[in-house]
């Protein structure tokens, strides 16, 4: 069910309320994870407000308000705390993937947003390239079920999740398969939380599977699962970019306010051309994002356009955002480098977002590969 602009604004209002009430006061403390506890209360509130389910079907407790609504909500949350926005993105994408892969029974069990939301977090390989999942985990058939062995690195939400979505290579057929298994399954071990550059409120850990037995019902999808998995991830690239735009928006607001306030040579630094140039770079990137986000979401919902637009959308905007968010620190000078001002966090968050859903370098290659394939066809 498509919603009108008025309904979308109501959702945005909800996201703003969440950002202000649940995140604004704790932003810098949540950035201390894993050296401080994870803010479970924020997730609980977000789930109660229905934020992770904005783009999910009603059958799993979502509100079917579309990707643009989700993207705008994520952008608003990311302005307050990008790590929490990434938790929401992970939960939305993981559930959308389970729904897309099926079967329905799995979707009902694992993708459904329940009232006890804190007990239903899913871990998802958010940093993996969805088209190049590799053979970190191998699955072999064992009677009616499977046995899984191997390792996956840096799964989003794993330290706090109750179940994990695992891509694995079926050794007998060489095809890509997907499994979902509770994290307390025998043979599953989760590393200590990983300390990373940014997005620290979205916990990460490595996964090791040693002789893990999974029933047939634990397998998601069938022969075309790899394509469905990649398609779903592809459709969420605009939502990821929205998180990055939220980070940049927060960085710009801080830099602009500081530049209007801070004096140098008895003039507000916003009047210095070199500062204006940096602020303009940030502002124009935001404008580019605002102009293109809606179209990217439409394309995503229509199946991805001609094949490269969503990749390009992520690549261009995330790369631009990483560069101009370092300028956000520069505008604040020494103050920008200090934790107290909150600006350095935006620079770290933006850089880490650039590495989500595959490395930027290989993403660029894929853009041309797809175009070459199209030209040859």
């Amino acid at each position: 069910m498509a919603l009108g602009e008025q309904d979308r604004q109501a959702v945005e209002q909800l996201a703003r309320r969440f950002a202000q009430d649940a995140l604004a006061a704790v932003e810098r403390e949540d950035d201390r994870y894993p050296f401080a506890p994870w803010n479970r209360a924020a997730w609980r509130t977000a789930a109660e407000l229905g934020l992770p389910g904005l783009a999910l079907p009603e059958s799993v407790g979502g509100s079917e308000q579309g990707l643009l609504t989700l993207a705008r909500a994520l952008e608003i949350v990311a302005r307050a705390e990008a790590g929490h926005a990434t938790v929401l993105l992970t939960q939305a994408l993981a559930r959308a993937t389970v729904v897309a892969l099926g079967p329905q029974s799995s979707a009902a069990r694992w993708a459904t947003l329940r009232s006890d939301a804190q007990e239903s977090l899913l871990a998802y390989p958010l940093y993996e390239d969805p088209e190049e999942l590799g053979d970190g985990v191998r699955a072999r058939r064992d009677g009616a079920g499977f046995v899984l062995d191997g390792q996956l690195q840096q799964l989003s939400c794993l330290p706090i999740a109750q179940a994990v979505l695992v891509p694995a290579l079926l050794v007998d057929s060489g095809e890509q398969a997907f499994f979902i298994l509770p994290t307390n399954t025998a043979g599953v071990s989760v590393s200590e939380p990983i300390v990373t550059l940014g997005l620290r409120a979205c916990p990460l850990a490595d996964l090791t599977l040693a002789n893990v037995r999974v029933e047939a019902a634990g397998r998601l999808g069938g022969a075309d699962a790899a394509a469905a998995y990649a398609r779903t991830a592809e459709s969420y690239r605009p939502a990821l970019v929205a998180v990055a735009l939220g980070v940049l928006s927060a960085s710009y607001d801080l830099a602009f306010a500081y530049a209007c306030e801070r004096k140098q040579s008895k003039r507000n630094i916003v009047l210095h051309h070199m500062v204006q140039e940096m602020l303009a770079g940030m502002a124009s990137t935001l404008d580019l994002g605002a102009l293109t986000l809606e179209r990217a979401c439409q394309l995503a919902e229509q199946g991805g356009g001609s094949g490269t637009e969503l990749l390009s959308f992520q690549e261009v905007l995330c790369t631009l955002i990483t560069r101009v968010s370092t300028d956000g620190v520069q505008v604040l000078g020494g103050n920008g480098y200090m934790h107290d001002y909150g600006q350095e966090k935006h620079m770290r968050d933006a850089k880490q977002l650039q590495t989500v859903l595959g490395s930027p370098t290989t993403r660029r290659l894929r853009i041309l590969e797809r175009r070459l394939a199209r030209a040859q066809a």
Binding site: Q153, K266, V329, G333, M347, R364
Partner: protein
């Protein structure tokens, strides 16, 4: 993840410093000393700094109120601070800029944070040198050396920046417009200092603080004084320890002066005693040297990022083929390698400009000998050297601008801007090549990404340094041009 390079000669002395290899023909003893210092520092960094780099950064993330005391102990044990002291004063420095610069690159490639441990004191010693107060310079240099040989710790920082005046305090042309909060007043037997200095490198490690502060805020240039304040001085306290994004091992400190008394003998430069202000030659001299150092430091960061990316490319595959043998990765790596060489070439040229301005290739060999040191330290020589007349004459001499000193200004800013911009760029490129692996703390490059950003900010932002280049290279030649 990071391991030793297969071929440590990838950044060997001969492959890195063609200009120095050439200079070796005419200055064999000088370059022999530089080579020796380079090789010793490389071993030291691998054996003692590398094992501490990531663990120290992590510990300081866990507890931002802690200090990198283990690194400081390593620095003292291995006499790294004595390298800022010339041999004729009993230290290990040869009096040239060459060894410190190339050692800065080498050290930063391993851990920029360790340079942060050293550099506050380095800045303090350079500034103390430019005050031309040989009495206090000689005394403090000797105490520093003794402190590393088992005596009490003697380290010094240099405080310029104030909370409301960062960039304005780094540029002589802007100081008169700076919003200052610090001021000294004369009292019987000395002066009393009031105000706060911020972002002071090494403040929490220092036993003494070199403070630049005017006697009258309305005339910050004409009344500028320089003061040496021990950490236990009444009215002095250490304020906030900044929680920085990176370079965590090197503390950035707030210094608080609450009617802090400085006895006359600790007034390093009293403006009443000199015909012209010390401030301009002091700032130009100090920043002219330290910006080259930052250029070398940032070059090392860019090189460290390259080395980690190279190691990653050697050990990781994409579509079944090792990255090192894929053209896209080769392109990324060679671009990073080019950046290292661009940055290095720039700081080396700036280093030579600095040496041209300071009279050549460093102190002659004999100045490190025992007989010369005895002579230098003999009563009549010492008495003359420490006299107010000699101090006045030296300050007057430093106030005269030569073309060589003007060149130092634009070259040093050039080294700082090029090195730090390319260092930052290499960190971006390394993470982009490594993807998710690059943002993990254990890989090391995300730390360099955080560390690199500081080099674009301190010693004057890169924006200010661009203006500084224009001011000192173009304005003297283009009559219609104004910068500040």
């Amino acid at each position: 993840m990071r391991t030793e390079l297969d071929d440590p000669a990838l950044f060997s002395f001969d492959d890195s410093f063609a200009s120095l290899v050439f200079l070796e023909r005419t200055e064999p003893r000088l370059i022999a000393r530089v080579r020796e210092a380079f090789e010793e520092n490389r071993r030291f960094c691998q054996e003692h700094v590398r094992p501490l780099a990531l663990s120290t950064d992590l510990a300081l993330q866990r507890d931002p109120s802690a200090l990198a005391n283990e690194m400081l102990d390593v620095a003292i044990k291995h006499r790294r601070f004595s390298r800022f002291v010339p041999r004729m004063l009993g230290g290990l420095g040869d009096g040239t800029a060459i060894a410190p610069m190339i050692m800065a690159e080498e050290t930063a490639a391993v851990d920029p944070g360790f340079i942060g441990v050293l550099s506050g004191h380095g800045l303090g010693m350079v500034a103390l040198g430019y005050t031309m107060n040989l009495r206090l310079l000689d005394w403090f240099a000797k105490q520093t050396v003794q402190g590393e040989l088992g005596g009490p710790r003697f380290l010094i920082d240099c405080a310029i920046t104030e909370p409301t005046a960062g960039t304005d305090m780094e540029e002589v042309e802007l100081i008169t417009q700076a919003k200052l909060i610090c001021e000294a007043k004369r009292v019987e037997g000395g002066a009393r200092l009031t105000g706060r200095k911020c972002f002071i490198s090494g403040g929490h490690f220092a036993s003494h603080h070199l403070i630049i502060m005017p006697f009258d805020r309305r005339d910050p240039v004409g009344t500028a004084g320089v003061f040496m304040v021990p950490s236990d001085a009444p009215g002095f306290s250490l304020g906030k320890l900044e929680n920085k994004m990176g370079q965590k091992a090197g503390p950035a400190s707030e210094l608080v002066f609450d009617d802090c008394f400085v006895p006359q003998e600790y007034i390093v430069v009293d403006p009443r005693d000199h015909a012209s202000s010390i401030l301009e030659p002091l700032l130009l001299g100090v920043l002219g040297a330290t910006r080259v150092y930052v250029g070398a430091w940032a070059t090392g960061i860019g090189r460290g990022a390259f080395e980690i990316a190279l190691e990653f490319a050697k050990t990781h595959k994409w579509r079944g083929k090792t990255l090192i043998n894929q053209q896209f990765a080769q392109k990324a790596l060679v671009d990073m390698f080019v950046n290292v060489h661009k940055a290095r070439s720039t700081y080396l040229e700036a280093m030579f400009a600095l040496m041209n301005a300071s009279g050549g290739g460093g102190a002659p060999e004999f100045t490190g000998s025992a007989w010369f040191r005895a002579l230098y330290d003999s009563y009549p020589v010492r008495k003359a050297r420490h006299s107010a007349g000699v101090h006045r004459a030296l300050v007057k001499r430093t106030g005269k601008h030569s073309d060589a000193q003007r060149r130092v200004q634009f070259y040093s800013s050039l080294a700082k801007v090029v090195g730090s911009d390319l260092g930052m760029e290499n960190c971006h490129r390394a993470i982009e090549l490594m993807g998710a692996a690059g943002v993990r703390h254990g890989a090391g490059v995300e730390k360099l990404f955080r560390d690199a950003k500081l080099c674009q900010i301190f010693e004057g932002t890169n924006q200010l340094n661009r203006l500084h280049m224009l001011q000192h290279h173009f304005v003297p030649r283009i009559a219609a041009m104004e910068v500040f």
